[in-house]
C-alpha cells in the first residue's frame, strides 16, 4: 500500500475533524498573535524592545510572529507523531490501524502532513501581513521563504520525532506524562523564541542534535540579515537534512520495535 493512499486517508481524517471544530481552526489562526503578544508582554517586563533589537538584531514583533509560526508548524508535526498512538489507543482505533496492511514507517511520515499544510496556510494570516507591514514588498518574499522553511523544518523533525515516539512507547508507563516533559524541552532547544547563538553552550550542543533547530537558525539569520552569504543558509539546511536522514533508520527501527512490543503485550481494545 502506497504513501499516497495513507496520505489521502490522513487528509480526510484531519480535514473532516478540523472543519467540525471551527473553534480550533479559529484558535489556530489567532495563535501566532496570541503567542507574540504573550512573549512581548512578558519580555517588556525584563527589557525594552530596543534592547531586544540590540541583542538579537531583529524587531520583536516580526521575530516572535515568525517564531510562533515556526513553533506551530514544527511542534504540530511532532505532536501528530507523538500523540496519535495514544489517541488511537484511547479511541479504540489502534487495533484497526495496526491490523491494516500499512507500512508503519510510511504511516508515521504521512501522519503530520495534512495538518502541516493547514498550519502553513495560517502563515498567510500571520507571517505575511506582519512582514509586509515591517518590510514592505520585500516582506512578501521573506514571508514566503519563512513559510517554506517552516514546512521544511517541520518535515526534517519527523524522523527524530519517530525515534522519540518509539522509545517512549517502548519504555511504557504513562507515556503522556513523559511527552508533557519532552515537549517544552524541545520547544526551548529548538531556539524559536530564544535564538541559538544566545543559548548557553550546553543547550547549544543539545540544540544542534535537533534537525529543525538549524532551519530555525537559518530563518533567524535571514531576518537579522547577519550574513549576506547564502552558503551559510545552505549549510544549515544541509545539516538539518543530514540529521533527518541520519535519524530515519533509527526512527524506523524505533517504531517497528514499539509495534513489536505492542504485539507481544497485546493491544487493548
Amino acid at each position: 500500500m502506497g504513501f499516497i493512499e495513507i496520505l489521502y486517508a490522513e487528509t480526510r481524517f484531519v480535514w473532516a475533524g478540523l472543519l467540525r471544530r471551527k473553534s480550533a481552526l479559529f484558535t489556530a489562526l489567532l495563535y501566532p498573535y496570541i503567542l507574540t503578544a504573550f512573549v512581548i508582554l512578558v519580555g517588556s517586563t525584563m527589557g525594552s524592545p530596543q534592547l531586544f533589537v540590540v541583542r538579537v538584531g531583529i524587531e520583536p514583533v516580526p521575530f516572535f510572529i515568525v517564531s510562533s509560526f515556526m513553533l506551530m508548524s514544527i511542534m504540530g508535526v511532532v505532536d501528530d507523531i507523538f500523540w496519535k498512538p495514544l489517541f488511537d489507543e484511547f479511541m479504540g482505533t489502534l487495533p484497526y490501524v495496526i491490523a491494516s496492511p500499512v507500512d508503519r514507517v510510511l504511516y508515521f511520515v504521512a501522519l503530520p502532513l495534512p495538518r502541516l499544510i493547514i498550519v502553513l496556510f495560517i502563515g498567510l494570516s500571520s507571517v505575511l501581513p506582519v512582514m509586509i507591514m515591517y518590510y514592505g514588498v520585500a516582506g512578501v518574499y521573506e514571508a514566503v521563504v519563512v513559510m517554506l522553511l517552516a514546512g521544511f523544518g517541520a518535515l526534517v523533525f519527523a524522523t527524530l520525532a519517530m525515534c522519540i515516539t518509539g522509545a517512549l512507547y517502548i519504555a511504557g508507563g504513562e507515556t503522556w506524562r513523559s511527552l508533557n516533559v519532552i515537549r517544552p524541552l524541545l520547544m526551548v532547544l529548538l531556539g524559536v523564541f530564544y535564538p541559538r547563538w544566545l543559548m548557553p553552550l550546553t543547550a547549544q550542543y543539545l540544540s544542534w542534535a535537533l534537525p529543525p533547530s538549524h532551519v530555525v537558525e537559518a530563518v533567524h539569520r535571514m531576518l537579522a540579515e547577519t550574513t549576506g552569504n547564502a552558503v551559510q543558509y545552505f549549510v544549515l539546511l544541509g545539516v538539518a537534512t543530514a540529521l533527518a536522514i541520519l535519524y530515519a533508520p533509527i526512527g524506523s527501527t524505533s517504531i517497528r520495535a514499539w509495534e513489536r512490543k505492542k504485539l507481544r503485550e497485546g493491544i487493548s481494545v
Partner: protein, 328 residues
C-alpha cells in the same frame, strides 16, 4: 470446504507485575492460551464460547495479527500470522468491540472512507462498497452516513463495526462479541448478515457469551475454558457429549406427594416433585436414556392409580453444555 484458519498448539502467556510493598514487584505469568488447536473452514460460522478470561479474545487477536503467540502456529489461508502478517491482514475483517473503534468527530461514511483508504481500497471501489454496506446493514435508513459517530446508538456502532470488517470484502471474518449489549433488532440484523455471509462462502470466527445466539448462528462451536479447547462440535454434537441426564417431565393428575418413594422403587429413578400452574404434580426424572425408562414411568404411575396429563422430554441446553465443560 477449504481451511481458512488453522491454529496448532497455540500458547500465549501474559506477564504482569504484582507490586509487593513500595519498590518490590513480583512477576506473574498468566497463561491465556495453553495449546489451543482448531480449524475454521470457508462457508461456516464457528463460535468460540467460553467464560470470561477463557482466552477467546486472545485467540481472536492472535489470528488478527494483533498479538504474537509464544508458541504454536496459526495460518490464515495458508499464511503464517507471525511471518506473513501483512498477507493475513489483507484477508481478514475484524470487529473487536462494538462500543468504540471509530473517530467520534467523523461521520460513519468518513470513518469507513478513512479505514478503507488505510486498507488500500481504491477510491472508486471504496465509495461503491460503502454504499452497498450501508444498505446491507440498513445504516442508510438510520441516517448513519451523515451523522457523527459520537452520536450513534450502540446498535449503529455495531453495524458500522461490521461494515468496516466487510469493507475489503475479506474471505475471513473475526467477530468478537458483535452483539454484546445490542437491542434485539440490531442483534438479529447482525446475526442474519453473518449467517448470510457464511452461506456465501466466508469463514466466520464468532465469539459470544450468548448461548441462544451461539446455537442459532454457529455451525460449529469451540468451547474454550482456562486457555484450552475443552469441546468442539455442532450444538447437537456438544449436547450429546455431556453425560448430563435428559429430563423426563411427567404431569400427573391426582398424585399423592407421599408416593414419591414408591415411584422411585417402581421406576428405579427417584423423581423430584413440583406443582405446575394448573395444579398437576410435576415429576422430573433425570435419566441418561429416556427411551429406556419411559415405559416403566408410565406403568409405575398407572400402578399408583394416577393419570398422566402430559409428558415431555427436556434435552440439555447449550448452557448446560457450557456449564458442564466450564466446571471441569
Amino acid at each position: 470446504m477449504a481451511k481458512a484458519i488453522v491454529a496448532k498448539n497455540v500458547v500465549k502467556r501474559y506477564i504482569t507485575r504484582v507490586r509487593k510493598g513500595l519498590v518490590r514487584s513480583v512477576k506473574k505469568i498468566i497463561e491465556a492460551l495453553r495449546g489451543v488447536s482448531f480449524e475454521v473452514r470457508h462457508g461456516e460460522v464457528v463460535g468460540l464460547l467460553g467464560p470470561n478470561g477463557a482466552g477467546k479474545t486472545t485467540a481472536v487477536k492472535i489470528i488478527a495479527t494483533l498479538l504474537l503467540p509464544d508458541d504454536g502456529e496459526v495460518y490464515v489461508e495458508g499464511f503464517d500470522v507471525v511471518r506473513e502478517a501483512n498477507e493475513v491482514r489483507k484477508r481478514i475483517g475484524l470487529l473487536l468491540s462494538v462500543e468504540k473503534g471509530f473517530y467520534g468527530k467523523l461521520t460513519g461514511r468518513e470513518n469507513l472512507e478513512y479505514f478503507g483508504a488505510l486498507y488500500g481500497i481504491p477510491r472508486s471501489v471504496l465509495r461503491r462498497r460503502i454504499d452497498e454496506l450501508m444498505k446491507l446493514l440498513e445504516l442508510d435508513k438510520l441516517g448513519a452516513s451523515s451523522r457523527l459517530y459520537e452520536e450513534y446508538s450502540l446498535g449503529m456502532k455495531a453495524r458500522l463495526g461490521l461494515a468496516r470488517a466487510l469493507l475489503k470484502d475479506p474471505p475471513i471474518l473475526l467477530l468478537d462479541e458483535p452483539t454484546l449489549g445490542l437491542d434485539p433488532p440490531s442483534a438479529r440484523k447482525i446475526r442474519s448478515v453473518v449467517k448470510e455471509l457464511a452461506r456465501n462462502g466466508k469463514a466466520v470466527l464468532y465469539t459470544t457469551h450468548n448461548m441462544f445466539e451461539a446455537e442459532i448462528v454457529c455451525d460449529r462451536i469451540l468451547l474454550i475454558n482456562r486457555g484450552k479447547i475443552v469441546a468442539e462440535g455442532s450444538p447437537e454434537e456438544l449436547k450429546s457429549k455431556i453425560p448430563q441426564m435428559r429430563t423426563v417431565v411427567v404431569y400427573v393428575r391426582g398424585f399423592n406427594p407421599n408416593d414419591v418413594e414408591r415411584v422411585a422403587e417402581l421406576v428405579g429413578v427417584k423423581p423430584s416433585l413440583g406443582i405446575d400452574e394448573e395444579g398437576f404434580a410435576m415429576l422430573k426424572f433425570q435419566v441418561r436414556k429416556p427411551e429406556e425408562v419411559l415405559n416403566d414411568i408410565v406403568k409405575g404411575i398407572a400402578k399408583l392409580g394416577c393419570e398422566i396429563a402430559r409428558l415431555r422430554i427436556e434435552e440439555p441446553t447449550l448452557e448446560d453444555v457450557f456449564l458442564y465443560f466450564a466446571s471441569r
